[in-house]
């Protein structure tokens, strides 16, 4: 964690206070307002109700799959078992998704942060044009990108490789990441870096020691969004890979079938949907405490 610790305060306003992470007050509305808790409840219900339906559908017995009762009684794990049946390769798909989405996130953050640093903190000509060029790449309809990429990967022999999925995911995630990180980095007062540079830090050091930790909530949020976007990518993954060993979870799920022709494997698909969602949520729960709370040096009390 050493590199995440803020540098010693170099001036006393406002840098010092923030950098030392003394306080970050989060309370804006009256703490005791009951409306506040009503608001929380409404939001949680709004977000979780459809997901709850997914969980319920996953836990129903296949024989009463289409019941509209609000509880899955009697519950069964048959749908989950069917999703993980060895002939599907779903577990392997989850691992592949993790590899692809994980690599995409790490690479996107590394090159996205460097690019955003340049765009937010350096003074050079053509900045507006560069930002415009970057965002322009996420204006093209995704479905029109598939065939040229497939052609390219076929020509250089990249079919059935991880990079064939990672690099397109990277390019879908980069524009959002760069723009967001740029916005977050720009929010930091410029005095911070200048003060650090007066203290003898190089611009890069100043950035790493001061700006990055302060922008941590933004960086972390960007990482989550990139990871999820890569985790959910489908049209490239289904086109550039045809060996089961490399297929991602989404592609595997699209191949689920019922026992008979036309029979739609709704329960298994819902079970798979729950399985691909829950790890993300747990990971975020675990990481956010460590990373966000760690970086902001115990801001929330």
């Amino acid at each position: 964690m050493s590199q995440t610790m803020p540098a010693p305060p170099v001036t006393d306003k406002p840098v010092g206070k923030i950098a030392a992470g003394e306080k970050r007050k989060r309370s804006r509305i009256g703490d005791s307002s009951p409306w506040y808790y009503v608001g929380i409840a409404v939001i949680v219900v709004y977000c979780l109700a459809p997901f709850y339906w997914m969980v319920v559908s996953a836990l129903r017995r296949p024989s009463d799959q289409f019941s509209n009762s609000l509880l899955p009684i009697p519950a069964s794990l048959d749908n989950l078992k069917a999703a993980f049946s060895p002939s599907n390769g779903f577990a392997r798909g989850l691992l592949n998704s993790l590899i692809v989405a994980g690599s995409t996130t790490i690479i996107t953050l590394v090159i996205g942060i460097t690019a955003a640093y340049a765009l937010a903190r350096l003074d050079f000509r053509g900045k507006g044009a560069t930002l415009a060029a970057i965002i322009a790449t996420s204006m093209f309809p995704g479905i029109a990108v598939v065939v040229p990429i497939l052609q390219l990967w076929t020509n250089i022999g990249w079919i059935n490789t991880y990079q064939a999925m990672i690099i397109p995911s990277l390019s879908f995630a980069l524009p959002t990441a760069i723009w967001l990180l740029t916005a977050f980095f720009k929010q930091m007062p410029f005095e911070l870096e200048e003060a650090a540079q007066i203290d003898g830090c190089t611009p890069a050091q100043a950035f790493r020691r001061i700006i990055l930790p302060l922008a941590a909530p933004g960086v972390f949020t960007t990482a989550i969004l990139v990871f999820i976007a890569a985790w959910n990518e489908f049209i490239i993954a289904v086109s550039v890979v045809n060996k089961s060993e490399y297929k991602t979870a989404n592609v595997i799920v699209s191949q689920f079938t019922g026992q008979y022709q036309f029979q739609q494997p709704y329960g298994t698909q819902m079970a798979a949907g729950v399985v691909v969602t829950i790890p993300l949520v747990i990971a975020v729960l675990l990481f956010q405490r460590r990373i966000v709370e760690g970086l902001t040096a115990g801001g929330v009390k």
């Binding site: 024989s63 052609q151 699209s254 022709q261």
Partner: protein, 432 residues
């Protein structure tokens, strides 16, 4: 200042250069490796691209082949479950001239398009026992009187009906015509008010083309004539479409049925909400399930589709196997297709998956009939079935049919206008 801008531009130009060169090189190297068409000598490992193996039968067939052909191993490439996505993957591979897929499991309605675009190889007809194969399915692999795809599986619509309800209402045999069907419903509904009369697949997708064509054919009309010319704006076709349109108007067809694909309709039938249901054979096993998922187990039977006056005609479904033009080892591919479409393998396939074979004899096999009581009805259905328009631009044709048929069913257009518009569109698509 100039210098700096130039550097940024040169980075971009450089990258673009790399990209364009990559594309150009690859394109060049590819064209040389495409083998000459129509030769089936090369042997070696191949792949079979298909929707997923529902029962594990396919893998067992592959294992059987692979253990006997060490140097000609077949690898299964599982495509997404949805037919649209399967077709999309196959087209993408054809566009990029990729050799990833050797054998393609194609829907019968894709054959003309794939053959005309030169994506699949013409097959030697003498290598397949076409005389033992039902006529309808055998013709689906043909394009311009040449065989492009080996008949593999077939499918025909049947009328599922609630035998228990008909019996209770004193009706001894399933309806032979649409009028009978409506009359039977009245009798049954008199004592069972909540139950709906008839449904098929009326959602705006390929199933609507199937159901619309069936209605037209069952009323003595045609969508396209034998020479391939659209003739859908006829009095007979109007009677067919009117059956569906009036069905929705008078409540013979429940309102919900406009959202039915195969599975929604199956659920309604299994829940006991329908007296009559036009459906494929796959529903038989599922509706007979004894685990509580079906409320009609033992209470239903199947019959031939009814028509305007007498028996109706089904649309022909099914799948064929074709060889990609861009593949390697077409000799092994041909041999493997012969193996997979052989009569013994098709029999095993039917037993494991209940998907219908193309061999006439299998439908008369008493052992199989015991397991699948509907086989004689299905055979009659497939025998009389009408193929959907065999046109190169099938995608455009089916879109046009769905567009106007749906507009008629939902009351947006009169049947006259719908058929007239459909005829115009089909004429411009098919071009005759």
């Amino acid at each position: 200042m100039r210098g700096r801008r130039a550097s940024a531009v040169s980075v971009i130009a450089g990258a673009l250069g790399v990209v364009l060169t990559l594309g150009a090189c690859g394109g060049g190297s590819k064209s040389g490796s495409t083998p000459a068409a129509g030769t089936f000598d090369a042997k070696g490992p191949i792949t079979l691209a298909t929707g997923k193996d529902t029962s594990g039968y396919l893998q067992s067939a592959l294992d059987k082949w692979n253990s006997a052909h060490a140097s000609e191993q077949v690898r299964l490439i599982e495509l997404p479950e949805s037919a649209d996505q399967q077709r999309q993957q196959m087209i993408q591979n054809a566009q990029t001239k990729s050799d990833a897929y050797t054998i393609l499991n194609v829907d019968v309605v894709w054959t003309a398009e794939f053959a005309a675009n030169g994506w699949i190889e013409q097959l030697p007809a003498d290598k397949f026992p076409l005389d033992k194969i039902l006529k309808g399915p055998a013709s689906t692999g043909q394009y311009f009187n040449k065989l492009y795809a080996a008949p593999y599986l077939t499918d025909g619509g049947m009328l599922y009906y609630r035998k228990d309800l008909l019996d209770a209402a004193g009706i001894s045999s399933p309806p032979a015509s649409w009028d009978d069907l409506a009359a039977d419903c009245k009798k049954v509904q008199a004592s069972n008010p909540g139950v709906g009369c008839y449904a098929g697949q009326f959602e705006k997708y390929e199933g609507l083309t199937v159901n619309f064509s069936e209605a037209v054919d069952s009323a003595g009309g045609k969508v396209v004539d034998d020479s391939g010319k659209p003739v859908v704006n006829s009095p007979e076709a109007k009677k067919g479409l009117d059956f569906l349109v009036n069905g929705f108007k008078t409540g013979v067809i429940p309102k919900d049925a406009i959202t039915y694909k195969e599975e929604e309709g199956r659920r309604a039938f299994q829940d006991g909400k329908l007296i009559f249901h036009r459906q494929w054979p796959y529903q038989y096993k599922l509706a007979s399930a004894t685990d509580g998922s079906s409320k009609v187990t033992g209470k239903f039977a199947v019959a031939a589709l009814p028509g305007l006056s007498g028996a109706g005609k089904s649309s022909l479904g099914g799948h064929n196997l074709a060889i990609s033009k861009f593949a390697k080892n077409k000799g092994s591919a041909l041999a493997f297709i012969q193996f997979l479409t052989s009569e013994p393998e098709e029999k095993l396939h039917l037993q494991k998956t209940s998907e219908a074979p193309v061999y006439s004899e299998l439908y008369d096999d008493p052992e199989l009939i015991k397991q699948f009581p509907y086989l004689p009805i299905l055979k009659a259905s497939v025998n009389d079935a009408v193929a959907r328009p065999r046109v190169v631009k099938y995608g455009d044709a089916t879109t046009a049919i769905q567009e106007d048929a749906y507009a008629a069913l939902t009351g947006q257009k009169t049947t006259d206008d719908a058929l007239k518009d459909m005829q115009d569109k089909l004429t411009s698509i098919i071009g005759k």
